[in-house]
């Protein structure tokens, strides 16, 4: 009978699906690793802990694993992804909320395979696709460092992901496609220093997590290695042979930039790169040199024409010598007259030039904008972010800063300025999407303001919206 046939085929389909799901679950199943009694901090060798501290700085662990309440490694930072918001986990040795009951084997498995102690799949917002390269010895030191931190009992909110991504086991499929497990294999064609740099940059440093573009499933497109990517509303610059930087990078400039957070011929690390260089400023000299050597080799030697142009550019920048003390505005350089009548030119001359043509070297003055990577970049987003927000002062250390102009310039003024800077200093074709990018950058700032205040409780839910905030719009 027709109806029983239909019932039959439905049953068959259901059974097939059930078998596939069962097979997938069996494939994806990972066992729990037995909990341990949190080890006493004194049971770890201090020298090992110190090594772990340096590695944790290199891996930039604190940046994602610290929420807006500032409790280091206690997690809870919202990480926006194209798929939804994920909250970083607590990696303090708290037995309930953190990793206090994780054995070293459980820690190493998380780093290598992206599986937590209880056998649950982690999301690759945690870059285990890089950390899988980390050696056992380095995991050993990292574990010792994290297990000797101050425990904080604070549970991260659950990820806000749509079906089916909210089922963690689905990540087994992603791993099958994109996770190439380690350990790191040195390239015999290069020397030990280069290989050390490659190990750190590709592994713990996870530079590609931002600087390599991602495909529609959120995996790095290895065919466009270091081709530039998106990170938290910023464009992570292209750092391969296609680098847009007006002055080509080399080993020495990369080292200095990673060490200090700025370079006189390139400018200032900002956005998500600012905390990275804050951490890298503390790492071992040899390791930082190795990383610079590796990244410089990925960029390769610039073509002769680019090099010649760079020489001209560098010579055109006049500074009054390192160590010049920042002078107050009263004795800033005289503002140059606007070279043309365009609105953008007038805004540059009246607003930007007093610092950017002051003759003071970075970090005491702004760089000459003909050197700006943001103006030369394929995307206007970083330039817009800096105009809107400025470069906030670094905490507790001397460094470059710039006031933001987002509250005083309207979108039309910013659009005019951005287009002028691009044409005049970048000498490149105009960007096509400036108004949209300005709107997106403003929205991102407004959103950051609504989530910047720490949630009042640690119950794992989002704080309710504050009264009076609803319906606020940017002017």
């Amino acid at each position: 009978m027709a109806s029983s046939k239909r019932v039959n085929s439905v049953l068959w389909a259901a059974a097939t699906v059930a078998v596939i799901v069962l097979a997938a679950v069996i494939y994806a199943w990972r066992p729990t690793i037995a909990p341990i009694t949190p080890p006493a901090p004194s049971s770890f060798d201090p020298a090992l802990v110190q090594r772990g501290a340096a590695l944790a700085a290199l891996g930039d662990c604190n940046t994602c694993h610290t929420g807006s309440d500032g409790r280091t490694f206690a997690g809870g930072l919202p990480i926006p992804t194209p798929f939804g918001t994920i909250y970083s986990s607590n990696i303090t040795p708290d037995p309930k909320a953190g990793i206090g009951r994780w054995s070293e084997a459980a820690f190493s498995r998380a780093m290598r395979d992206g599986i937590d102690r209880e056998g649950r799949y982690l999301y690759p917002a945690f870059p285990y696709d890089h950390f899988t390269l980390v050696s056992d010895a380095d995991n050993h030191a990292l574990y010792a460092y994290l297990m000797t931190r101050q425990p904080v009992e604070k549970t991260a909110p659950p990820p806000e992901l749509p079906f089916p991504l909210n089922i963690r086991m689905v990540m087994a499929g992603w791993n099958l496609l994109y996770l190439k497990t380690g350990p790191f294999k040195p390239d015999p064609n290069h020397d030990a220093t280069w290989n050390r740099g490659a190990y750190l940059v590709e592994g713990l440093g996870h530079c590609g997590a931002c600087h390599t573009p991602r495909n529609w499933l959120g995996a790095e497109r290895r065919t466009d290695f270091f081709g530039g990517g998106d990170a938290e509303g910023w464009h992570a610059f292209t750092i391969n042979a296609a680098s847009q930087s007006p002055i080509p990078w080399d080993e020495a400039s990369l080292y200095s930039y990673l060490r200090t957070g700025f370079h006189g011929l390139h400018g200032v690390a900002r956005g998500p790169m600012a905390p990275v260089v804050g951490n890298l400023g503390t790492v071992d000299d040899k390791d930082l040199h190795a990383m610079a050597i590796y990244v410089a080799s990925v960029m390769g030697k610039p073509e002769a024409a680019r090099e010649a142009n760079a020489k001209k550019l560098a010579a055109s920048v006049r500074t009054t010598g390192n160590g010049t003390i920042p002078q107050s505005g009263g004795i800033q350089s005289v503002t140059p007259a606007a070279t043309d009548k365009a609105e953008g030119a007038a805004i540059y001359a009246t607003t930007c030039a007093t610092c950017h043509e002051s003759g003071r070297p970075v970090p005491y003055g702004g760089i000459g904008l003909q050197l700006s990577s943001a103006i030369a970049d394929s995307s206007p987003r970083n330039l817009i972010n800096v105009i809107l927000n400025g470069v906030p002062a670094a905490d507790g250390t001397k460094g470059p800063m710039m006031p933001g102009f987002g509250d005083v310039m309207n979108d039309k003024q910013i659009d005019a300025l951005v287009n002028y800077l691009r044409g005049h200093f970048g000498a490149k074709p105009a960007w096509s999407d400036v108004p949209n990018e300005i709107a997106a950058a403003r929205a991102e700032i407004a959103h950051a303001q609504t989530i910047s205040a720490p949630a009042p409780s640690t119950t794992g839910t989002n704080a309710p919206p504050k009264p009076g905030n609803a319906g606020k719009t940017q002017p």
Binding site: G329, T350, A393, V408, G468, K472
Partner: protein
């Protein structure tokens, strides 16, 4: 000519386009509340509100401001009738030397206009760009909380008072009424 409304009075100003707003306020309009600190947008003592947002007036050229509305600390109230922010700062005696205080008040005012229920964390974050070397920080925080409370309970006085005192009539600037 730049048209600028300061504390509810509109002025037509004939100044060089790169003149910082701070100089216009102090030298052209005789409003000395906003202070010159670093001149680089790094200390906050020159802060005023432009269209309800806190800005560093020392790095804001007048060219950007045509048609905009500026509120300075003088616009928050008068000696006889201080606005809530001023009353709270007086009550808490939140000034020592006072040089940074006008800037602090304008930043706090802009915050509370935007978010009347600002938390302690919000206030601390907002005032972060402001330097004070005397050390009345805790009093300043208490004053801002108190101003928020006063503004919430007397909503009528939230709007900046129409209060540039007549005695500081701007020299060298033409009035076109308010």
């Amino acid at each position: 000519m730049v048209s600028l409304t300061v504390n509810n009075r509109t002025h037509e100003l004939d100044v060089e386009p790169d003149t910082p707003l701070l100089y216009v306020l102090r030298d052209e309009l005789g409003l000395h509340g906003a202070k010159y600190g670093c001149g680089l947008g790094q200390c906050g003592s020159c802060t005023v509100m432009v269209d309800g947002k806190a800005v560093f007036s020392c790095v804001t050229p007048i060219a950007l401001l045509d048609g905009k509305t500026v509120t300075t600390v003088e616009g928050l109230g008068t000696v006889e009738h201080p606005g809530p922010m001023q009353a709270a700062f007086i009550k808490e005696q939140a000034a020592q030397c006072g040089y940074c205080i006008a800037g602090m008040m304008m930043r706090a005012q802009a915050l509370l206009l935007h978010d009347p229920h600002a938390t302690e964390a919000d206030i601390r974050a907002a005032l972060e760009p402001h330097l004070c070397r005397c050390g009345t920080h805790m009093r300043i925080l208490r004053a801002v909380h108190q101003a928020a409370e006063m503004m919430r309970t007397q909503t009528a006085s939230i709007a900046p008072a129409n209060a540039a005192p007549a005695s500081i009539a701007p020299a060298g600037a033409k009035h076109t009424g308010s």
